[in-house]
């Protein structure tokens, strides 16, 4: 009765492999069993049985090995406990894990297309989230590196002007001494001036560096390692100059640190002497202060005595409190210090922890309303959304494929796989995918980090990542894998093997609903990102191109230093004769950064209840014309009327504030008197977050500090060359410095521009990942309906009808997602735009456009698959499977 093709050795080998795979027995135990099997079979053959029957009898004689497994393991455990070798058990468990992973790996390789889609989606989502994570960690770390930094607080002023509260950081210089002397809880006070360019000269070489004036105890509050010099003494010397290592290298060459630089003379701004008293380590990238040069604020005050008076607010101030002191109590105690010292002042002082300043620096009506933290939160949300989309993909693709794997599961269950083993297998597959995606994502991060740094203007190094961040993201990835794999794992393993094998199992309705829900969610999120991206783009474009009341293009700005200031009139005439240069004028500041204001302006009919600050620009003839400001009323400064009693030109906001007819009214400010001769249309000043302030322009060419040179159209390069040649000729002591006005304007919105670019990228990625998911889903749907499509075609359905049939569901789902997203998007964008003084109006077009785009991309994704299926030869389709 033995079948002719029975080979005992093959049968034994198969039997053995089966048990090896199950790993229930150790190798030794299995050897013993095999020996037993062989002996028994041989014995039975000796008694005259055929080999096949003998083998089956012997296998039967082994008893139920599943029950045996339990017995074996009981003994096994006892042995382990006795020998304290739990490690072996762990190894056994690990080998189970390895088994899951092997199966997972095979499953991945069997379906390369599905695996690629799943991996790409996850890896891209992960990489994007990792980048955002890096960015957020870096943002959160800014200014948090100082020793005892939690004791440092910034002093703010809440100034009451006509019932409105303005929050300003600049304080009067005498405040520092009061805080230091009168408040025992204060350990030290740091004072800085505004950041400015400082020209250093040494041995005939000149360098322009960014720096500021700070007081002697600055380094007590903000300690930096001194490579040379003494932190406490360095700026006690009014002539002292503290450099960063990088600046020292620039000035003294690579070998600067071989000898002491202390006492080396340098010339400052070409008009006074300084000596080097300290060299500090370079500021870390996470410092808000990035001063290359620090000079003594007392020296500055000795040349600018106005800063010594209360009410002239120029210096940001920071206090370091003693360890035991309460910041809240101190903040309350100093509230009225200015009012007590300055007649007529109506302001409240308060403090804010310094480390919070970077992310929480926006005040509105005296109350902290946020700051950069909003961007941090926004991107945090984007990261979560991207991860969510990627995770949804994963679950969608896996559940969709589940019915294809139903047979495999049925067979596995029938031959005795426990449910736990199946769950383990599917979780294993999910984990393998997630981990592979993580590795890919890390590779992407490594490869793209330099580009990311360029884009965001950060200096994140991989070394900064830290083990914690890596482990954290790895753990998060594993969690994602487990979560994404859990539904398929639990759902697939619950199949009834009998139903599956008989073919009576239908793809569960629950799974279908879930899958549909996930697609809707995914496209809702994608649409949200698309709308946000378009809105950010439109707002940035609006900022860039809208009528700002002046024309910034083709205007070159040059700081007036040395001869450019002292011989301004001659330089101007010389420049006007140069090729490429159309107009030359000067002013005390860029209209985008007016730095002088006063509450003491007087004019006819001024009512005492007006308390707004008036901003002041000193200008040369032609300033308003060169910047193409528009005249609303009266006239501009004109040489034919002479400089004597030239009067003032004001902006519309100022004219409105003066009430009634502004033209011809007499006014005085900063010691000048005259009448208003003209009103120009309002122009953008400072930034779009701030309202337009009243501005007064006075003709005083001798008080200007910026040249404004308008190039002839299309000849900007030539104009710049001419400008540099003249500057080098008349002003050899200063390095030539220039900037383009439009670039400066763009710099004000740099963070919005970065936001815009990042939003672009992330929205693109979100759509990409969502479409990958859609691609997988439609491929699955098409595969499932191959036969149906074939039959319909045979019965006469046209290709367009079939394509419609296949894409109808996708259209409905995506459409639903879009409908859900649009109102949320509308609300969110309104909130964001509300922060801008000048912003676009949200039109219906934006939303329709985003919806059409999302739907279009979805259609494009599914069209290839469905058209291919619809065009296929029905004979082939019907033969399918």
């Amino acid at each position: 009765m033995a079948a002719p093709d029975f080979h005992l050795e093959t049968a034994i080998a198969t039997w053995r492999r089966f048990h090896e795979r199950r790993r229930a027995f150790s190798g030794e135990d299995l050897n013993e069993l095999e020996r037993h099997l062989r002996d028994h079979t041989a014995h039975l053959v000796d008694t005259g049985l055929g080999p096949e029957a003998a083998f089956h009898c012997a296998v039967h004689g082994l008893g139920d090995l599943d029950t045996g497994t339990t017995e074996y393991r009981k003994v096994h455990w006892a042995k382990l406990r006795r020998r304290g070798l739990l490690v072996h058990e762990l190894q056994w468990r690990l080998s189970m894990l390895r088994n899951y992973l092997t199966v997972a790996w095979r499953s991945m390789r069997r379906h390369p297309g599905y695996t690629a889609i799943n991996l790409t989606g996850l890896a891209v989502g992960l990489a994007a989230s990792l980048f955002i994570g890096l960015w957020i960690v870096d943002e959160l770390n800014v200014d948090r590196f100082y020793a005892e930094g939690d004791q440092v607080h910034r002093v703010w002023r809440n100034v009451n002007i006509g019932g409105e509260i303005y929050t300003w950081g600049a304080t009067s210089k005498p405040l520092a001494a009061v805080l230091e002397n009168d408040y025992p809880e204060v350990e030290a006070v740091a004072q800085t001036a505004w950041t400015q360019d400082i020209v250093l000269a040494r041995d005939g070489e000149t360098f322009r560096e960014s720096g500021t004036y700070v007081n002697a105890s600055f380094f007590e509050v903000f300690p930096r390692p001194f490579l040379q010099g003494d932190p406490l003494a360095a700026l006690a010397n009014p002539q002292g100059v503290v450099l960063t290592a990088q600046t020292a290298r620039k000035l003294f060459g690579d070998a600067w640190n071989e000898g002491s630089l202390l006492g080396q003379p340098v010339t400052l701004d070409q008009d006074r002497d300084g000596v080097i008293t300290g060299v500090i380590e370079d500021w870390p990238a996470t410092a808000s202060f990035q001063y290359d040069v620090m000079l003594s604020v007392d020296e500055f005050a000795s040349r600018n005595t106005w800063v010594e008076r209360w009410g002239n607010n120029a210096f940001p101030i920071y206090v370091k409190l003693r360890e035991e002191a309460s910041a809240a109590a101190f903040s309350a105690a100093i509230a009225n210090v200015v009012n007590e010292n300055e007649a007529g002042a109506d302001e409240v002082l308060f403090t804010q922890p310094y480390a919070d300043l970077y992310l929480h620096g926006d005040y509105s009506d005296g109350v902290l309303v946020g700051g950069r933290i909003e961007y941090v939160r926004m991107f945090g949300i984007v990261a979560v959304v991207l991860l969510l989309i990627a995770a949804i993909n994963f679950m969608n693709l896996t559940t969709a494929r589940s019915s294809q794997r139903a047979k495999e599961i049925g067979v596995r269950k029938a031959i005795g796989a426990e449910r736990g083993a199946l769950v383990g297998q599917f979780l294993g597959e999910a984990l393998v995918l997630a981990l592979t995606a993580f590795v890919l994502a890390m590779a992407l991060v490594v490869a793209l980090l330099p580009a990311f740094n360029t884009l965001t203007g950060k200096a994140i190094a991989l070394g900064d990542l830290g083990v914690g961040f890596l482990l954290g993201s790895l753990a998060a990835t594993m969690l994602l894998g487990l979560l994404a794999g859990s539904y398929p794992a639990l759902y697939l393993s619950s199949f009834q093997p009998l139903a599956v094998l008989r073919g009576t199992l239908r793809s569960g309705k629950g799974a279908l609903t879930l899958r549909r829900g996930l697609v809707v969610t995914q496209f809702a999120l994608s649409t949200l990102l698309i709308v946000a991206t378009i809105a950010v783009y439109q707002q940035l474009d609006y900022i860039d191109t809208r009528d700002t009341g002046m024309d910034r293009n083709n205007v070159i700005m040059v700081p007036q230093e040395g001869a450019l200031r002292t011989q301004y009139a001659a330089v101007r005439d010389q420049l006007l004769a140069q090729p490429g240069i159309a107009e030359v004028t000067s002013a005390s500041a860029s209209p985008m950064a007016i730095n002088r204001s006063t509450g003491g302006a007087q004019w006819e009919g001024r009512t005492p209840d007006i308390e707004r600050e008036v901003f002041m620009l000193s200008v040369d003839y032609g300033f308003t014309e060169t910047l193409r400001m528009e005249l609303a009323e009266g006239r501009l400064f004109d040489r034919q009327f002479g400089a004597e009693n030239a009067g003032f030109v004001v902006n519309e906001e100022m004219a409105r504030m003066m009430e009634g007819e502004a033209l011809g009214k007499r006014m005085s400010l900063f010691g000048m008197e005259g009448e208003v001769i003209g009103v120009v249309r309002d122009f953008d000043m400072n930034d779009l977050y701030a309202p337009i302030e009243p501005v007064v322009m006075a003709l005083s060419p001798d008080r200007t500090s910026q040249l404004f040179v308008r190039a002839q159209p299309g000849r900007t390069a030539e104009a710049l060359a001419s400008l540099e040649a003249v500057a080098d000729e008349v002003n050899p002591a200063y390095p030539f410095e220039y900037s383009f006005m439009d670039a400066n304007y763009a710099a004000v919105y740099a963070s919005e521009a970065v936001l815009g670019r990042l939003a672009n990228i992330f929205a693109f990625l979100a759509i990409l990942v969502s479409c990958l998911g859609l691609l997988g889903l439609i491929a699955y749907t098409v595969a499932q309906r191959t036969k149906e499509v074939g039959i319909r075609k045979v019965l006469g359905a046209t290709v367009p009808r079939l394509v419609m049939l296949l894409t109808k569901e996708v259209t409905v789902l995506v459409g639903l997602g879009i409908l859900i997203a649009l109102p949320i998007a509308y609300y969110g964008i309104q909130q964001w735009l509300g922060g801008f003084q000048q912003h676009i109006d949200l039109g219906i077009g934006l939303f329709v456009g985003a919806g059409v785009l999302a739907l279009g991309v979805a259609w494009l994704t599914v069209s290839y698959q469905s058209i291919k299926a619809a065009m296929a030869d029905p004979v082939e389709s019907l033969r399918y499977e």
Binding site: N31, R35, H36, H43, G61, G63, E71, H76
Partner: protein, 115 residues
């Protein structure tokens, strides 16, 4: 076949007793017992080997691998001194039990309880 509880109770003493007669291996143990009992005591591998391993864990038996034809080697088990003591103890217990049953079944013997 004998009833299960009796088989279970006699399992370990029988294995010890067989090993007390010399070194042997699993298959041979099953065969011997089957032959000696005229097929009334039949053990399966899935029960015997765990017991042998357990005895080994408790240091009552020791084992040696020996070569044997094609396929894996054969694992021989023998009693350790501790195993022999366990065998003596088992023997004494079973003899006591046997004597007790014998007395109960011997209608001639005086039990001293009917007074």
């Amino acid at each position: 076949m004998l009833p299960k509880p009796l088989l279970a109770a006699s399992f370990e003493p029988l294995v010890l007793a067989l090993l007390g007669r010399g070194e042997t291996y699993g298959y041979e143990i099953i065969q011997h017992i089957q032959d000696l009992s005229d097929g009334r005591v039949v053990w399966t591998a899935n029960r015997l080997y765990p017991l042998l391993h357990d005895l080994e864990n408790r240091s009552l038996v020791a084992s040696t691998w020996r070569k044997a034809g094609p396929g894996p080697g054969r694992k021989y088990y023998r009693l350790t001194p501790k195993g022999e003591r366990a065998l003596d103890k088992a023997k004494a217990d079973w003899l006591d039990m046997n004597a007790l049953l014998a007395r109960l079944w011997d209608t001639n013997s005086e039990l001293g309880m009917a007074t």
